[in-house]
Amino acid sequence: MKLEGTHQLDAPRERVYQCLVDPEVLQRCIPGCERLEKTAENTFAATIRTGVGSIKGVFNGTARLEDLREPEHLRIVVDGKGTPGFLKGSGDLDLEQGENGTKVSYSGDVQVGGTIASVGQRMIQGTAKMMATQFFTSLGAEAATAVGEPPPQHGFFRTALRWFSGWLRSIFRKH
């Protein structure tokens, strides 16, 4: 399956690049990433617990960064296996400095197999797009903070909103 897309991030290209190769930042940005460890130069092992709706799974895998040309290009090669199936593939990321931030273009080829591929084929692309959007939104928030600043809380607004709407409803219910 081919994956392609672009995302506009509100941060300079050098900063976005640093975030993309920082395992701590990546762990915070990858949806459901529970563990991301450096096992060798530019090689990482990860555990990701993720899903959409009621469909959930745990994946274990490795990611390797290649072809590093700071700050404009990198290539990521992934290989993972989990309860619902496996995935394998690679993708190129190109960073372009624009007037108001950085344009990240990605294009990759991923093979997905196992149960998820045989029964969920029609939803794989949609899931991939949804997760890419979540990842780049978080990455944008990370890159927009200065080096050394505390990282943004990705779940914060959602939690606050939920709490606030619950509170509003409880007030209206009393009347």
Binding site: S54, T115, V119, M123, K129
Partner: protein, 288 residues
Amino acid sequence: MIPAQFDYQAPATLEEAVSLLASDLDGAKVLAGGHSLIPAMKLRLAQPQLLVDIGRIKSLAYIREEGDQILIGATTTHYQLESSDLLKRICPLLPECAKSIGDVQVRNKGTIGGSIAHSDPAGDWPAAVLALGADLVLVGPNGDRTVKAEDFFVDLLTTDLQPGEILREIRIKKPSGRFGQAYQKVPHPASGFAVVGIAVHLELGDDGSCKSAAIGVTGVGTKAYRAKGVEGSLTGTNLDDDATATAATHVCDGIDPNSDLYASGEYRCHLAQVHTRRAIQAAKANVQ
């Protein structure tokens, strides 16, 4: 094909169901007809700890008129909607849509609420409730809240339902004046899911021109959506072939169409345009 272990509760009332859900917000899932959740559990793609079966709460399955509204309980089955004489008379889009779902076994067990809450990108009901401008009533630990269908579908399999909430009722304003409706679908030959599905609700003025149009589209994007481009282009026209064909070209505006082994994005978009045109023509022919 055997699910992972889970607990099962069949509460007698909706209040009980809500408190059961609250006991395990991460691990509990609502079971209605079970025609999306159970297959996913058998494949172990979903492994809930607790199933709260609302399918046995009898008072949740109903279709009735109340004032200028049609009220539909969440566990009303596709078959009950398909065979409702009341709906055939006052809102024929609903039975027409129900008729197109899966096979008779699926329609006997599957529910409208389950389909909407699951938000399958190729589910039929999301398109119909969007075209009808339905309100969805959700119940949670803090009581009821109402969400417009248009705001309910967030993304692939993702809705505005928060953990602990249950979809309780679908409310639709009773169509009035001169109106026409239709649902056109290209079913996937194996699964019966919509490769594309187009639901149309037209309101006509006295001179036969299109006063307003609402078009719900499923199968094309990651979630069902209203095709505003088509609606805008159609409003004010006399719904002739030219106007219809022109309007239909806007059905994929702003949408990145799904692509899978059966249909590429480009092909899907083409199908959507053809069937939008046909659905509008059918709705016009159905005007009463």
